[in-house]
Structures are given as structure tokens and as C-alpha cells.
Amino acid sequence: MAIAFLLRDTFGERVFRSALLIPMMVPAVVAGIAWKMLYNFEFGPVNYFLSLLGIPKISWLGTQFFSRLGVILIDVWQWTPFVFLVLYAGLQSLPRDVVEASFVDGASGFSAFRYIEFPLLRPLLFVVLIIRVIDALKIFDIVYMVTFGGPGSSTHSYSFYIYKVGVSFGWDIGYASALSVLLLLAVSLLVSLLIRVLRLRETLEL
């Protein structure tokens, strides 16, 4: 949201907007390979740049905390453009006259955002939140390509387990299907809960 807000009406907006979309267009498999190289303990650029700041090398794929953080960072990197795109479009479609009227009444830029734009964007924010929750719950490709669920069980996701049961263990499709149905139920339940908590029906006037 901050990116969408900062980018609006700035010099080079079109270029930045296009550049920001690149991560979303990169296939997850390619992104996984690239990030694995970036996270390389000895030769990876991430540790190199951290070392310039005096930070010792981090085992991004060999420790519980950092492997989880590593997977989260890749997911955030890949899907921030989607969140940005939705919110940016939302921001562009807000009625300008209301915002301009607030300026006439003496509101600052921040006040206009806090009291006018943000409340107007809230429904979109909730929708994006729900989509990202669903996405995060079924994360598979990044785990498969980068950590394979490890080290230990640090980054083992439910979808990854379904894949292993369904494919790697010898095509146990029945059990894998049952697990998938459970995932569907869990996601449905969580989304219903979110809709209720966020009062999305009222907000979206459904």
C-alpha cells in the first residue's frame, strides 16, 4: 500500500510500475532457483551485501528461523506486485473531488489519506488480505524449489505434504485427495471467519 501511495503521481511512475510487476511474472520455479543462488551461504549476493554492513554470514537454508524467514521473503517478493497492483488501481479510482475538498478544508496529505483514502480502500485491502491468506496456506512451489521442507520440518507446508503423498510416495491419490479436501475445508473455514471478523459483507454491501 505504501508503494502504491508513494508511487502515485511521481516522476517515472510508469517505469517503476512496470518494473514492480516483474517478480509476479517470473515463474515460481525460476524464482526458486534464483533465490536459492541468492541465499547461497558462501557465494550468495545476500550474504555478500550483509557482510558489507558487518553482518556475519547467515545460513538462510540451514537454520530453522532463517529458512522460514527466507521462504516468507520470497513469497513477499513474488506477491507484493499483486497487492500493489490491486491497491494502486484502487487508489487511482478513488473520487479525487472528495480528497481535493478535504484539502480546501485544510487537511494535510496524511490526514486526507488517514481519514478519506484509507477508509475508502479498506474493502479492497480486505479482499487482498483474504486472497493472500488463501495463497499462503497452499504454498508449494517455493518450498519445493528452495528448501524441500527443511531443514528438519521448518518449512514443511501442508500442500507440500499432499504432493509427496500423492506423487513421490507412489501415487497414493486417494489419501492425497482426502488431504486436499481437508485443506479446502480449512481454507473455507478460515476465510469465512475472516469475512465475519472483518465484516466484509457489510463493507462490500453484499
Binding site: 541465499y39 558462501e42 557465494f43 540451514g62 521442507g149 528438519g152
Partner: protein
């Protein structure tokens, strides 16, 4: 004039159509490490058999095995020939063509120079049979080897320093206890004068890599006279993880000690839990470590590494410490649902022939499976270490299970091993007993 061109084109089109219709298209699935060698062998075969078109498709290990299983289960016949990993033998056997039965039915297709007795006996079984069924011919013979920096081990200054510190000569380690000392000596953190940053490169990720790496450490205990007395002889189908009675053997004092050896060595390695094949290959290739357990396929890459030149003076190959390296390798077999069995049979005979075996070693470092190739003067001139280290490694190799339940067992054990190495679970018999219980449940024992 126009009539002539049209007629000419028609003739060419008819010729092309007839050629395509008459050609036999053989679909070969391969793991990436075998693909280049298979591609050249396919080219050679096509040159001798112009009516045959062979398409070699490389598929990663994680993709290849499930796809083979899917195809064999459904009987779709999407591939004619495939390389198969030795530990998948039990799972794929029902859908693979029985080559012995097929050869008996088609004696005219059997190459008189094939020389089945020339295969190294262990290789012939583990890359060829499941129970009594011949499901493939040995293609890629492999056991892990211990690669080391020959120039560092023969450096007089380093030798003197090592002797002063440890009271013995600096030599390639023969046991994991020795390996710990040598690895410590070559780690800058413990020896600031070390020419390498780390002593050893280890790959303990949460993938099938950990499943075979553990055997390099457990094997010496399992194969020792005490281990044989306690667990019984090793069955080639059940492998070293099991007792002679088919019960888990790793949930024992020996299993815990093997894990402790791995834990002890981890401090001398760059990011062992986050490293896999590529990372360790790179660490050795860039001169960061003095030793690394690896497969022979790495040699092709290291031979090109500027830091390892002159190669023969800088890189040495030895048998794994403990003397029981884990076996790997691939067989080459035919899909029972293939519509081109005759041509496929001729092709796999050529690919696994003496000629093919020699080409794949000399050009692609795909380990030989034939005794005659290991003893071939040209091969020995190229790789003098081969005869001694290779046969010793293959003969003394420890084996993973080849039973159909292997992938499930592997996943359960790898998860726990990874957690123990990470410190999430204690390294104890009790922890390993939990895995053993799950194994027994899966196996119905």
C-alpha cells in the same frame, strides 16, 4: 515448368511422409546426469540404424520417478526406454519388461558380443534385477567417493604442522574419526594457517541426499564384524538400513554413533544443512574445502575449474572413510507397455555395451559397470585411481532399500535425521525408535 515443380514437391512430400511413417520413434526418459551420454549413444545408434529416431528427454530426479510410476501404473506407454535409479527397482518392477524372458523369445535380437558376464556382479544385480526379474541392464555404476586436494595433502609444510599437532602423518582419512581431525586441521576457524576456509564440504539437506549421506556414516558400523554379528548379513534388496530379518537396524547404538559422527563433522563444513549437490560441488571447485564426499559425475565439472589446475596434481580420489560408501547408479530398462520393444531392446544393448560403457566414462564420467572397461588400458591411463578405488568402493558399498515402500520410508527417516542434525530432536535411540516404529507399521511388521 510449374508442373515440374509441383511434381517434384509432391515426390519430396511423399518421400518425407513415407520416411516418417516407416521410422521408429523411440522415447527415452533419462535423469539429467545420464542424459548427455545417452544422447551421444543415441546418435551413434541412429547412425547405424537410419530407420530409428531416438528422442532423449532429461527429467529431474524428483520428476522422473513419479512419472515413470504414473506411466507404468496406467500402462500408457509414454516412454519406451528409461533410466531408473537402483532404489526404485521394487516399485517399478511390475511395469518393466522382463529382459531375460524377452531375449529368450527373440534370440535373433540378442547381440552376440553383449557379454552379460562382463558386468561387475554387484552392479549386475542392483542395476538389473528385482527378485528374479531382469528389469534392466546396468548403465551408470556409482558409489560415492572421497575427493581431496592432493596438492595440500602432499605439501611438506602442512604435513609437518599436522604431525606436530596430531602426532601422525597427514594422510587421506580412512575412518570418520581420522576425517574429523583432518577436517579440523583444514578449517580456518580452528587453524588460521589453513589454506582452505573449511575442511570438508557436506550435504545434509532435507532431501533424498540425506538418506544416502547417512549410509556413508552408518555403513561402517553396520558392515563391521560386530555389526554383522548383531544385525546379520546385508540383503541387497532391503539394504543396510535393515537387519537380515528385515527389521530396522539404525535405531541402535550404531545408528546414534553414525549421527554423532555427522554432527561432529558439521562444524568443519560450510552450511551443511543448507547445502546439496550443487553447493558442495562449487565449494570444492572454488578451492574452499580440502575434502568432499561426492559422486563421480562431479569430475567433469571440476576438470574445468581454473582453481583445480593442473587437475591430476590437485585432485585425488579415495575410498570413502569407513570403506562402505553408499551405492548409487542407474539401470536402463524397457517399458512393458512400449510398442517398440524390439528396437528398444537393441538400443539398450548398445547403450550398455562395452563400447557404450567406455564412451560414457571417458566423456561424461558416468561410472562404468563392466569389468573389461575398468581394466581397459585407455581408461586406466585416463583415470589411474579407477581400478583400485572403484572396484573397492562398488564391492564394499552400502545400499539403500530397493523395496516399493522406499520413498515413504525415506521421507520419514530424512525428516527425523534433519531434525536431529538441526538440534530440534535429541540424537538418541528413543528418537530413532519412533522412526523405526513408523517403518514397521508401513511394512506391516
Amino acid at each position: 515448368m510449374r508442373k515440374g515443380i509441383v511434381t517434384g514437391l509432391a515426390v519430396v512430400l511423399v518421400f518425407l511422409f513415407v520416411s516418417v511413417a516407416c521410422a521408429v520413434n523411440l522415447v527415452v526418459w533419462s535423469s539429467p546426469d545420464n542424459a548427455d551420454a545417452l544422447h551421444e549413444l543415441a546418435q551413434n545408434f541412429m547412425a547405424k540404424n537410419p530407420d530409428v529416431q531416438i528422442e532423449v528427454t532429461p527429467l529431474s530426479w524428483e520428476v522422473l520417478y513419479p512419472r515413470i510410476l504414473q506411466d507404468l501404473t496406467s500402462g500408457a506407454g509414454s516412454f519406451d526406454v528409461t533410466t531408473w535409479d537402483l532404489m526404485t527397482a521394487g516399485a517399478i518392477a511390475p511395469g518393466m519388461l522382463d529382459l531375460e524372458a524377452f531375449a529368450k523369445e527373440h534370440p535373433e535380437l540378442v547381440d552376440p558380443n553383449f557379454d552379460d558376464e562382463d558386468f561387475i556382479p554387484t552392479a549386475k544385480y542392483v542395476y538389473g534385477y528385482w527378485k528374479d526379474k531382469r528389469i534392466g541392464y546396468p548403465f551408470y555404476g556409482a558409489a560415492m567417493f572421497f575427493f581431496y586436494r592432493k596438492d595440500l595433502f602432499s605439501d611438506p609444510a602442512l604435513q609437518a604442522k599436522f604431525k606436530a599437532e596430531y602426532g601422525r602423518d597427514l594422510a587421506v582419512p580412512k575412518t570418520w574419526e581420522e576425517a574429523k581431525e583432518v577436517a579440523k586441521f583444514f578449517t580456518k576457524k580452528f587453524n588460521p594457517d589453513s589454506p582452505t576456509e573449511y575442511g570438508i564440504a557436506l550435504m545434509f539437506p532435507r532431501t533424498h541426499t540425506l538418506f544416502y549421506m547417512y549410509l556413508n556414516f552408518f555403513g561402517p558400523y553396520r558392515r563391521s564384524p560386530e555389526g554383522i554379528a548383531k544385525f546379520g548379513k546385508v540383503d541387497l534388496d532391503w539394504g543396510d538400513y535393515f537387519t537380515a530379518d528385515g527389521l530396522p537396524a539404525f535405531n541402535s547404538e550404531e545408528g546414534v554413533r553414525a549421527l554423532q559422527d555427522m554432527i561432529d563433522l558439521m562444524q568443519y563444513a560450510p552450511d551443511p544443512l543448507g547445502s546439496d549437490y550443487g553447493e558442495t560441488l562449487e565449494a570444492f571447485g572454488k578451492g574452499m574445502v580440502a575434502m568432499v564426499p561426492q559422486w563421480t559425475a562431479c569430475l567433469a565439472s571440476w576438470k574445468e575449474s581454473p582453481l583445480l589446475q593442473p587437475f591430476e596434481e590437485k585432485v585425488g580420489v579415495a575410498v570413502m572413510p569407513g570403506g562402505t560408501p553408499v551405492s548409487g547408479g542407474w539401470g536402463l530398462g524397457i517399458n512393458a507397455a512400449s510398442k517398440n520393444k524390439e528396437v528398444a531392446f537393441r538400443f539398450i544393448q548398445y547403450a550398455t555395451s562395452k563400447e557404450g560403457d567406455k564412451i560414457q566414462w571417458l566423456k561424461y564420467r558416468i561410472g562404468p559397470t563392466r569389468k573389461s572397461v575398468v581394466e581397459d588400458p585407455e581408461v586406466l591411463a585416463d583415470s589411474p585411481w579407477l581400478k583400485e578405488a572403484y572396484i573397492a568402493s562398488l564391492d564394499g558399498a552400502s545400499h539403500r532399500p530397493r523395496i516399493p515402500e522406499e520413498p515413504r520410508l525415506e521421507d520419514i527417516l530424512v525428516g527425523t535425521l534433519s531434525e536431529i542434525l538441526l538440534g530440534q530432536q535429541p540424537n538418541s535411540i528413543e528418537t530413532l525408535n519412533l522412526v523405526a516404529d513408523e517403518w514397521k507399521k508401513i511394512l506391516g511388521r
